[in-house]
């Protein structure tokens, strides 16, 4: 059996690897931003008369005149001390700029995640259980549409039907918190959930079908175990791939809200990232990509820890 010590070592090792990953991501993104065309100082002044002096002064203010490595180190030095710098575009501290937006994107991603969990997983199980049946055929066809439909188009369609024609949901904005926030986030969350839900449905269906094909199921049936007993055996075994995919789905949702945020005029980190990348607002892009990478890495860690708890085979492999 795995001792508590080795679990701790595993977790610490993963956390260190996460820090190394974040460093690598920050450096790669920083390099890519340097390579993209455009000049933040020029963007700040816009298309208007600008003397070389004025441009140089703005570049100085944001260390843009420094050599590439020094720029990166200056940025990194700040981050280590908890200072993510100031947005070039709005002059606001990056942490303040992100604070509200992260909350909104988190809420949106969590809402979409819960919807996915509550709808796609049970449907996937039901479809696998009666593979080839009406539910299976119907939902599988729907899922193909769900996976294929661009979230931008789905969002506008939902807006038209539920916002304009039926007038039950608001068209844009994020509401003032509490239930109103929930109401405002409903259509965007459904839009997101349709895309990833279709994926989760297919993964769940495949995982359950794979288990149903196993010999132990036929054996259990031949021994006369009840449907309920067989179902709990199958589901427990199918859980691992489903949970792994759900973990990835959450990470994907958190980093993939851009189109939905723009369509529904939601001010989350996705819409901020889109604007900041084209503006070359380096401190903001760095902070958002780091945050997203951290969420993805930590979700993956949580999924692995869950596998530890849920699957004795994983524990044995780690102990070996």
């Amino acid at each position: 059996m795995l001792s508590q010590g080795s679990l701790l070592r595993f977790t610490l090792g993963r956390l260190l690897a996460t820090v190394a990953l974040l460093l690598a991501v920050s450096f790669i993104v920083f390099t890519l931003l340097q390579l993209t065309p455009g000049d933040p100082a020029r963007n700040l002044l816009g298309p208007r008369a600008s003397s070389p002096d004025a441009l140089a002064e703005i570049r100085d203010q944001y260390n843009l005149n420094e050599p590439f490595f020094r720029q990166y180190l200056l940025w990194l030095g700040g981050v280590v001390q908890g200072d993510f710098g100031e947005s070039i575009r709005s002059d606001e501290p990056v942490t303040a700029l992100l604070a509200n937006r992260v909350l909104l994107t988190m809420q949106l991603a969590a809402f979409a995640f819960v919807l996915t969990l509550l709808v796609a997983v049970p449907l996937g199980i039901a479809a696998a259980w009666r593979a080839g049946g009406a539910i299976d055929r119907g939902v599988t066809t729907g899922a193909i549409v769900g996976v294929g439909a661009p979230s931008y188009a789905v969002g506008l369609l939902l807006l038209y039907v539920f916002g304009v024609k039926l007038d039950v949901f608001p068209i844009y904005g994020s509401g003032d918190g509490g239930l109103e926030r929930l109401w405002h986030l409903s259509l965007p969350a459904v839009t997101l959930a349709i895309g990833v839900g279709a994926l989760v449905f297919k993964l769940t269906r495949t995982a359950v079908l794979a288990e149903l094909d196993q010999d132990y199921v036929a054996f259990a049936q031949s021994r006369g175990l009840s449907r309920h007993q067989i179902r709990s055996m199958v589901l427990r075994n199918a859980m691992l791939p489903i949970v792994t995919s759900l973990g990835l789905v959450f990470a994907f949702l958190f980093g993939g809200t851009i189109l939905v945020e723009v369509t529904f005029a939601l001010q989350g980190i996705g819409s901020l990232l889109a604007g900041s990348v084209t503006f070359k607002d380096i401190p903001v892009v760095q902070a958002i990509t780091l945050l997203t990478a951290a969420v993805i890495a930590l979700t993956a860690l949580a999924v692995d820890l869950f596998s530890f708890a849920a699957d004795p085979r994983v524990r044995r492999r780690a102990a070996a």
């Binding site: 600008s50 003397s51 575009r89 303040a96 001010q267």
Partner: protein, 550 residues
């Protein structure tokens, strides 16, 4: 004359009556506001929009919900000077002067002003100027605010406007004297909320540790509204105050939502969530007009779209190449077919609205037509190219912002027109910020400019385009001398004449090809209309112009 009736200015020619209007406005209160609005409405124009205001009256409106296409992340335009920042700032803050409906400067916080020498301007503060909480405005507040505007760190977007300032002095308890290093007539537009000054108080800024315009500090000014809520990139809410010298505005609450996606903004209007959508995308104008209970108002917006050549980059260092391209530009067709007539074929860098004050609407167009008005003539283009260093043609590229679909369409048409001549134009669409980088770059010999003048100064764009850092990299001593005269000439007529002459001389070398002067469009609920909707509507307190249809 322009082809579209919508483009004809609704404003009467500026005559001596405008001089007297300035005096009228030196009074205070609502009478002044009414005079301002009334004076601009005596148009004899018979366009549908103008007629639609006939049965409209100024009535109390509880909440006006407005949808903006772009968002704000800071309320102080010195920090972030997008055009929509100006629209919000115009309701909350003021400068010393403000433009009226036709772009003539009128008193705002200054009750009067005077140019006492070519480099000296004296402004006298009005006695009834108050901040939104009733605290009187002092001349020290004004001087402090000018200091903020001059500071490149606090106000990176407007500081350049004050670069020619030598001193700002308090010359009496209610008087500030601004001295310039060298004469510059365009400076008059500097201390204006539509350009480079918003008066706030030193105490307010210092109590917020020098921060201004953020959600925690908001903005503190002297306009008809105060900000009650601001979520960056999401919404801003304004509440009417009773401290404005100009009286009480008819709209009590203005709620502005930033809705970047045009289709979503249309649905919001269809649903009645917003009453007005400012600066709608022109290629969506028809869809907006088809939206239930919605009208679209068009007005020229002092915008210019044209080709820039970087004249030091081959093959555009050859005048014959530039002239060949100029002959291949079918400006009238661009306006009629690509813009649906919402625009006007351009013949100069200055837009007609900027010189209508001196020449009148028709006179302005006639005066500007001398600058560069080459006909669309492919045979002539062929002949020009044959005389060039590249008689068999060449391949070039142009970078176009993906927020400018009409420009892209125009270049597609141009591309097809010059292909038989052997000129291959590769069109590279890119985000707007990358397009900035193509301006004045030797790597982009063929580029374009899409510029909307902030001020009503007819020389605003020319002083850049024909100056030392112009995007064409073009210099000409005769033009420089003429532009120097433009900076100093205080007589508006002589100044405009000289400016047009400078452009005409420069355009003999074709560093630029004006394509069209643009319009802006605003969609509004049928219930309301905007009085004298025009180029300057949203850069001075604009809610008093919102009328209710009866």
């Amino acid at each position: 004359m322009p082809d579209s009736p919508l483009i004809v200015s609704r404003f009467p020619a500026l005559t001596a009556s405008h001089v007297s209007r300035r005096r009228v406005l030196q009074g205070t209160g609502i009478t002044a506001l009414a005079a301002l609005l009334g004076a601009c409405s005596d148009s004899s124009d018979s366009s549908p929009d103008a007629q639609s205001t006939a049965n409209a009256v100024s009535k109390e409106i509880d909440t006006l919900a407005v949808g903006f296409p772009a968002s704000l992340s800071n309320l102080y335009p010195g920090k972030e000077a997008g055009i929509v920042n100006y629209y919000v700032a115009a309701l909350v803050g003021e400068g010393l002067v403000a433009p009226d409906g036709v772009g003539v400067l009128q008193p705002a916080l200054a009750k009067s002003w005077e140019q006492t020498s070519p480099t000296t301007y004296v402004y006298t503060l009005r006695d009834d100027a108050m901040f939104s909480d009733g605290v009187p405005v002092t001349i020290d507040d004004v001087i402090y605010s000018i200091g903020m505007a001059q500071d490149r760190k606090i106000s990176p977007n407007i500081a350049y406007y004050w670069a020619n300032t030598k001193s700002v002095d308090k010359t009496a308890d209610n008087q500030v004297t601004i001295t310039l290093k060298s004469p510059d007539v365009a400076f008059e537009w500097g201390p204006c909320a539509a350009n480079a000054l918003w008066v706030t108080s030193q105490e307010f800024v210092e109590s917020n540790n020098g921060e201004i315009g953020t959600p925690s500090t908001l903005i503190y000014g002297t306009g008809p509204y105060k900000v009650t809520a601001f979520e960056p990139d999401s919404m801003v809410e304004l509440e009417r105050v009773d401290t404005w010298w100009g009286g009480s505005a008819p709209v009590k609450t203005v709620r502005i939502d930033f809705i970047p996606e045009e289709a979503t903004r249309q649905l919001a209007r269809q649903q009645g969530d917003i009453d007005m959508a400012i600066n709608i995308s022109l290629d969506q104008a028809q869809a907006w007009e088809d939206t239930e209970a919605t009208s679209v108002l068009f007005a020229p917006n002092r915008s210019y779209v044209g080709i820039d050549f970087y004249v030091k980059a081959p093959p555009f260092d050859d005048i014959h190449v530039r002239r060949a391209i100029a002959y291949a530009c079918d400006r009238k067709a661009y306006v009629e077919q690509l813009l649906d007539g919402h625009g006007e074929a351009a013949t100069a860098l200055t837009t007609p609205e900027q010189v209508e004050g001196v020449y009148g609407p028709e006179g302005a167009r006639e005066a500007l037509s001398v600058v560069l008005d080459l006909p669309y003539d492919i045979e002539a283009a062929k002949a020009e190219l044959a005389q060039s260093k590249v008689p068999d043609g060449f391949t070039t590229k142009v970078g176009i912002s993906n927020s400018a679909p009409q420009v892209s369409a125009a270049f597609q048409v141009l591309k097809q027109a010059v292909e038989p001549l052997g000129i291959i134009i590769e069109i590279d669409e890119m985000p707007v910020e990358q397009w900035y980088d193509t301006i004045g770059s030797k790597n982009w010999g063929l580029a374009y400019m899409d510029y909307t003048s902030t001020t009503g100064d007819p020389a605003e764009m020319s002083s850049w385009f024909l100056g030392a850092y112009g995007p064409a990299g073009y210099t000409n001593d005769e033009v420089t001398a003429l532009m120097d005269k433009v900076m100093k000439e205080t007589d508006p007529r002589k100044r405009a004449d000289t400016l047009i002459e400078a452009q005409r001389v420069a355009m003999e070398d074709i560093p630029y090809i004006p394509l069209w002067w643009g319009v802006a469009a605003t969609a509004i609920a049928d219930e309301y209309t905007i009085e004298d909707f025009g180029s300057y509507t949203f850069v001075s307190p604009w809610t008093p112009r919102i009328l209710t249809n009866e």
